[in-house]
């Protein structure tokens, strides 16, 4: 009989009964295998000792409650947008809040018509300081979801359409190097309400050592309601089989995302245009550039500002399918994307691809 393999010997250390009697008899009679068994078991004991860890005492009920109450509004879908690689959750959260805050701000500016239904978009440069300042919006009121965003993975394009009510965009040809493995994601409508609170604002100002400017009547309790979605996305990359045996790090890195969502709709009550705009833009930390960019938006009732973190990406105007769009990133392949609005639907193509590839995919989308 041939000598036992190292793998067999190793398993015999842990599970002596797992192998047949022939293996055990060979081990008994073979000096060579005995010597190797001794080495293997010695290593196993030593490594086992080194890998011991302090005893863990867990409270499963408390842990479950923590998971149940974990933030709901993290529409991460298990991946991170490649154009946003800050590697830091606070920065991502600040960015997301800045996006929401700017949407609310433009809504307020557009309040003449009391609704905001964008038809086109414009880039707005956002600095880290802007993000931090705008992310403090919750200190001045409450942001609540009357209908929480519930992104989900769909098993097919048809399921994604059924869940979102939107047709799934079809990519004509994938850029070189992008996996054809595709995962579908869908989300129904979600609605957020920001309610301004005079007391919270005063407390926040006081904490910062500042006095709140005199508030106009009606500001306290003023509400802004923003509805986003439905949305649908195709995610290309090796992440569609998150079952046993798949590599979770791969699941976190899609190569290309093609998404479409109904343009956000916002309505407001009680606040006036000038009061709300001046109020938000007067927050400490907002850069003059952002203030100028917001004020420079030609027709705020129909223009969706796309915040571009100045440290992470550059942007330029492009024509996509006959309408004006916005391209982000460059041709290095590190990360690029395009976004455009057509017939009230916002489309986006983003990934670890070249800017020109993103434009091509966007133009050929059907």
């Amino acid at each position: 009989m041939a000598h036992l393999s190292d793998g067999t010997l190793r398993r015999m250390v842990d599970e002596p009964d797992a192998h047949g009697g022939a293996d055990a008899r060979h081990l008994e009679s073979c000096a060579d295998c005995k010597a190797r068994y001794s080495t293997v078991s010695g290593d196993a004991r030593a490594i086992s000792s080194l890998l011991t860890a302090p005893e863990l005492k867990v409270d499963i009920a408390s842990a479950f409650n923590r998971v149940r109450t974990a933030p709901a509004a993290r529409p991460r879908l298990g991946f991170r947008l490649p154009v946003m690689r800050p590697g830091s959750r606070p920065v991502v959260l600040a960015f997301a809040t800045a996006v929401a805050a700017i949407a609310l701000l433009v809504t307020a500016i557009a309040q003449d018509s009391n609704t905001f239904t964008p038809q086109t978009l414009t880039p707005v440069p956002v600095t880290m300081a802007d993000m931090q300042a705008l992310s403090q919006l919750s200190a001045y009121g409450t942001i609540s979801w009357t209908k929480q965003p519930a992104p989900q993975i769909a098993t097919s394009a048809d399921d994604a359409t059924a869940a979102s009510g939107l047709p799934v965009p079809k990519v004509a040809a994938l850029p070189t190097g992008v996996s054809s493995t595709v995962t579908y994601a869908a989300m129904g409508k979600a609605t957020a309400v920001f309610t301004f609170s005079k007391d919270k604002a005063a407390a926040a100002a006081s904490q910062a050592g500042k006095t709140l400017p005199a508030l106009p009547a009606g500001m306290d309790g003023a509400q802004l309601t923003v509805t986003v979605g439905p949305a649908v996305a195709e995610i290309y990359g090796n992440m569609s089989k998150p079952a046993a045996g798949s590599d979770i790090t791969q699941a976190n890195l899609p190569q290309l995302i093609v998404g479409e969502t109904t343009a956000p709709v916002a309505t407001s009550s009680q606040v006036t245009v000038v009061q709300f705009e001046n109020y938000l833009l007067s927050q400490p930390g907002i850069s003059p550039e952002l203030t100028a960019a917001i004020k420079a938006i030609g027709d705020p009732s129909t223009t969706l500002p796309i915040p571009i973190p100045v440290q992470f990406a550059t942007s330029s105007a492009v024509t996509i399918q006959g309408v004006q769009g916005l391209a982000l990133g460059d041709n290095t392949g590190v990360g690029a994307g395009v976004i455009w609005i057509k017939n009230g639907v916002v489309y986006g193509v983003v990934g670890t691809i070249k800017r020109d590839d993103a434009v091509n995919v966007a133009n050929q989308l059907t």
Binding site: R11, D14, L51, L56, V67, D247
Partner: protein, 170 residues
């Protein structure tokens, strides 16, 4: 986290059955209860968002994810050394033989550093097995045949031993 999914009852059952083990796998890597439970929470939230709790592969997915997320934290964390120093101090406080404790602590510190340097699969096989998973469970978590586990484990142990032998009491 949304709590209105139809399989929430199954999720709670899965959580109750697997939480201690998932946190234990992370603790094996990080040697820190707070961080280990943080990893466990992240893993369960991600699982709940993407999968059905009644899926057959659920435990295997959770075990593998716990190992990978914890190892990623170990690789990426600049706080690692501070944590290890604190851990070594804690252990030396409650042990009688200072020399022995110093060596054990040093060895564990080296072994975590070596784990962080290893390729994901060998590191995961060591962590999963050391966390008490059977050969069958390790095989399911890593998506390999049960007959391969012994070989993977032996190679990983040899590689780890080689990495840490120098400068330790191993």
């Amino acid at each position: 986290m949304t709590t209105d999914r139809p399989d929430d009852g199954s999720f709670e059952a899965l959580f109750t059955a697997e939480y201690a083990r998932v946190a234990g796998i992370a603790n094996r890597v990080l040697m820190d209860q707070g961080e280990a439970e943080d990893v466990a929470q992240e893993v369960f939230v991600d699982f709940h968002r993407l999968h059905s709790a009644s899926a057959q592969y659920a435990p295997a997915w959770l075990h593998r994810a716990a190992a990978h997320v914890a190892l990623n934290r170990l690789r990426g964390s600049r706080r690692r050394q501070r944590r290890e120093v604190a851990q070594a101090t804690k252990e030396s406080d409650r042990t009688v033989d200072p020399q022995n404790v110093f060596e054990v602590s040093e060895d564990r510190r080296h072994v975590r550093q070596a784990l962080a340097r290893m390729a994901p699969k060998p590191a995961a096989v060591l962590v999963l097995r050391a966390s008490g998973l059977s050969y069958a469970e390790v095989a399911q978590a890593l998506g390999v045949g049960i007959g391969q586990v012994g070989t993977l484990l032996r190679r990983a142990e040899a590689a780890l031993r080689k990495e840490v032998t120098s400068g330790t009491s191993l």
